[in-house]
Point group: C2
Chain length 757, copies 2
Amino acid sequence: MKTGWIIEDQGNRKGLWVNESIFNVANGYLGVRGNYEEGYDGKEPTIRGTYINAFYDITPIQYGESAYAFPDTQQKLVNVIDVQDLHIRIGEESFSLFAGQVVSYRRWLNMKEGKYVRLVHWISPQGKELEIEFTRMASFTTLELFVMDVKITRINCDDEVTITSGMNGDISNYTNSNDPRVASDHAKLLHVVHTGVQDTCLQIVAETSRSRLRVAATTFHELTPCIEGRLIQTDTNLTKEYVFPKGKEVLRLTKYNVFTDTRRHEQPELCGLEIVKSVVSKGIKQIWKEQELYLEAFWAMANIEIQGDAPLQEGLRYNVYQLLQSVGKDKYSNIAAKGLSGEGYEGHYFWDTEIYILPFFILCQPELAKQLLRYRYTILGEAKIRAKELGHRKGAAYAWRTITGQECSAYFPAGTAQFHINGDIAYTYIQYYLATGDEAFIAEFGAEVVFETARTWIELGHFDDGVFKIDAVTGPDEYTAIVNNNYYTNVLAKYNMEWAVKWYRQLKSTHPEAWASLCNRIELTDEEIIIFEQAAAQMYLPFNDKLGIHEQDDSFLSKKVWDFENTPRANYPLLLNYHPLFIYRHQVLKQADTVLAHFLIEDGVSSDVLKSSYDYYEKITTHDSSLSSAIYSIMASKIGYADKAYSYFIETARMDLDNTHGNTKDGLHMANMGGTWMAVVYGFTGVRIKEDQLVLNPVLPKAWEGYKFSMQYRQAQITVEVNTNETVLMVDAVKPIVLEVKGKRFKIQTGKIRIAI
Amino acid sequence: MKTGWIIEDQGNRKGLWVNESIFNVANGYLGVRGNYEEGYDGKEPTIRGTYINAFYDITPIQYGESAYAFPDTQQKLVNVIDVQDLHIRIGEESFSLFAGQVVSYRRWLNMKEGKYVRLVHWISPQGKELEIEFTRMASFTTLELFVMDVKITRINCDDEVTITSGMNGDISNYTNSNDPRVASDHAKLLHVVHTGVQDTCLQIVAETSRSRLRVAATTFHELTPCIEGRLIQTDTNLTKEYVFPKGKEVLRLTKYNVFTDTRRHEQPELCGLEIVKSVVSKGIKQIWKEQELYLEAFWAMANIEIQGDAPLQEGLRYNVYQLLQSVGKDKYSNIAAKGLSGEGYEGHYFWDTEIYILPFFILCQPELAKQLLRYRYTILGEAKIRAKELGHRKGAAYAWRTITGQECSAYFPAGTAQFHINGDIAYTYIQYYLATGDEAFIAEFGAEVVFETARTWIELGHFDDGVFKIDAVTGPDEYTAIVNNNYYTNVLAKYNMEWAVKWYRQLKSTHPEAWASLCNRIELTDEEIIIFEQAAAQMYLPFNDKLGIHEQDDSFLSKKVWDFENTPRANYPLLLNYHPLFIYRHQVLKQADTVLAHFLIEDGVSSDVLKSSYDYYEKITTHDSSLSSAIYSIMASKIGYADKAYSYFIETARMDLDNTHGNTKDGLHMANMGGTWMAVVYGFTGVRIKEDQLVLNPVLPKAWEGYKFSMQYRQAQITVEVNTNETVLMVDAVKPIVLEVKGKRFKIQTGKIRIAI
């Protein structure tokens, strides 16, 4: 085994369903949870799930009391056809880890090969001994493909072995009415329209209830030795039973499963058959090889090597790998809050993508970053419609949570009120531009998004006595809602409008035709730009002189501080134990808010303020949101709190592997996973993408001997190596770039920079 | 007909269902909407309803996203068994106002007799001529009784006449998912458990689905001439068919309907039979007589006579009459937002009772006022449980809307967040005490409520830099939500705590035993009282120096003023046309808030501030709530804006009769009806109940020649007569009282006071 590239089943997590999330196998299009092929004992809770990114149904939202422009339906990621079933019988006995004797059991994810393996040495109650090896893979090169492979070795016995391989279309989603973070209702979304056999392939076609999307699962079985199977067909299921005669040879079944859907494939049934044929003719070995090659290229850019801390190395790499597994690779999809690993947050896309996940893609996989940003452009039309519904005359109001752009949040104080998502999206377009210099993309997509979101601030805010104010919004911290002049929101709004002005003037000269066409299309005028400029310049940024910090919002610091001393550990997360009003009444944060603003936009904020702000807000932050620790780690690095930086980093790095938030069963915390990478690159290494240079301020955590990673900046490949003595930067660019390392500026095209630590 | 005592069917309202509300017949226990006995044409919309005050079922509340301590069920007033059906046939033709020729039609409510009459002269399509007179009454002396009477006169014909009289147990509630002010779901609440005949009475017994309350309707038919009928019985219905032979005599059917329920009657079936027997033996004439005597006594106290404005006289009297029809007369019930006239707001009790309705009862029917206040005492236990759910260590948090005390609000920003309801209840106990001097009631009930609500402010608020602040609440104005230091809330909290301190000290000496027992029971200590005193003394009351007004809340005046100029008339009420966030972002009021606070607690506020406040807030108030105009009328009187006082008064006086809010079909606006009375007594007459005197500042509206009304103050009967020259007060007391009239103080026991106008 290659050290640090393997995630092993630790068996010590709470419940098998936690491991189902951790051992999910996905490729951004398709995701399958790490369920046992043969199932459990009927007592262990499970969420048996297969998901296709952005494949959704529509469910009604019920309100006790509704109000104008509350969304009346919601989109929901659908648990699709289950092809995982593989049941093994030896003689009359069924293989189960809950019967007989488990001599040895190992399960692991190999992140270099992109494969999941479960290896069991088992003795049946009647003493028959088997070694069984299950392998699974969701292909990164053929996104529709989920391939399974099982090898069975008979030890000290030669009995007949039966493998029953199933496809099940009678699937429901998971619900829990007591947890606001998962769906409470509407489990049955998918209905089978067809089961059948064509060209030796099994195929189930199913349709969603309201969105009327169709999915086809097409499966081909390859057997060694080659035998014929018996088909069992029902209205919703297809099963093949293969009976291997007595003997000693190794038995093997390879199950090629292809998922196609009407969002991407015009004729999913036909297309499914074609893809199956092509992958079968390629063969399993070749498929595995392609996967390895894909990952080799990926890791060449994305790998962070740490010397001196194996568990963290493992966590960090796992988190980055999950980002790759989750990222949508077409214009229909993005990264859901739980990736494709579970149903938590119903497969919706949030600001998490922009603020926590895109930084990795921008610096390591800019082509995928571009794809993610294009997704926001494709839903701009929906955001403009939503703005109108919300009473705005112009602009775009992006949905707080959505799949195809419509608002799916059923609780506006911590949903629609989080208008900052518009600033987050604009900010990230700008970051992408600063990192890549890709002005063509801005002219084509980015400027329009930034102009429309800038308009939203003008609609939301107003000039009052020489300052521009934005009332009745909720910032990132959901433990305070519907406030005036949230610092985070205002500072992002200011940035958003400043760049709208900048790009308006810049594109006018660099891309005059695109500029003119855009301005004409969205009726953008010089007058509006002047208003953006004024609003940005006069933006109100609440500041408390006594504490020397920016106030989270107008009234935050005058509230009562939460009584942490008398809050038992069991009462966290607070949202599950206190009424929102009780929480809103106090100075208490679910997650970084002003501190996050200081990370995103540091220019113009003195280091004293950064530090005071950190000190103040940290004391009252619960980190009940998984979006918090990474930011506190980064800002601790910035301020020089090395110990805090490291301990927050640890929290992020193994949050899901160690199920520290207790809800990993519902899926992995994708934003936090992006945050782990950020904590190294933006935190320990102090990377900041500025308007005309890349800034680095590397430090080495005490516990480490060194670390190394790569990134791409303005088409330059930069490798950063930090060890106990020095930082070494290797640059390979097509034209000179400017780096500022520990305060020193370098203009460099190719070569090394060495700076003492 | 007696002028001013009759409300006639004007036929010009939008739809018959508006008249169903207006012509409801109720007595505080039982209410029947003014449906036609024979029904409509199947096309006219209708809400056919019969309600028993506080007779409810429980329905689940669905949330798109729920949170901790959101109520998961709601109570809902149940539409009970319908006994209204009377179908008349002459020959083969059925009487219907939608067929044949209506020669004349009149319908009226006689408020002196407490009777509703519908008189129709009708010619059938085949030319048969009938005069039909329907009479209805809900008895004020036998609350269970709803009696109907029909007289049929054959004109120019002698054909056989059939009357079919029905009782229907297959009843559903009205729902409309598009209007937050009525129920959106769960129509079928009632299920028949028995239909049958006993002792010549028909009886249907039905049960609610979840609350498992039972209601029995017991009916007896009295016929002239006496004939036998034919019974038609189904699982849910009982019908009697009476065939009157050919002839010329006047035909008459009297239908005695008695409703009994398990909330008030141990054996409703038995009890229903007994009551029916007793009322039948009494006979219809005697029942009508008793009703008249009851109303004679009522009007002796409650009548306001206006000289010179017949439509307003009618409206004013109608509104007062409806208060009597709606008021619960036992400890289980209160006054629902729509009384017993419709299903709007689901039969819930709100702060409306205390702030808008109790003033009338306190000064005109103190025994009923006491009953209403006792209701709050009976649900104090529920309020204490709710306080705990909301995270408070002690105190009582009254439900924003409820029947038996549990919170039924499914939208906390304009529900649970309106903590001011605790102050409103405390305030009204204090008002009752000041008006009646009934210290025994305070010792027994009032003090406990006031102490427990005082505790709630300590839980909600906190000391900050020498002032006491209350964060994250919503004031009366629902167009601004979850704010800090709402002036209205804070000023009532201050008052609440001041009186808690006062009564604590007062009862200690006047009722030492009751005091000691209470303090012991609720563990109230001197230390707590000192904290109440400090919090009251240091209460933060936001004030804006520039405008010279109290600010509605901390941040209200810094918001953008609503763009009234560009808001089309069709966009009101705003809540049906704008997202809450859009509304919350603006300076715009649904209803009086600070202005209401100034009415309730005027001491310590200068007349300049009162005036500036009125001027400022009036401009930005939409009066989208029916609770607004009355208060603006009263405060206009206070300030001396005679024209405004009068025009707001007109709006309240005929709000339902003229359906000015467009939703009278869902029931009458009870709070507004109380407000009309207040606009005369507190407004034009300037009545204020002070700690040691009653203050009056009468004026005569220009349009009137005079007005006259009575009230009771500290067991004194006071009649106030205002005419163009003078005000005459007639006092008849058991001991001297102090009156301050136009700034002059009088100590008087019996006699007249004359003051020039």
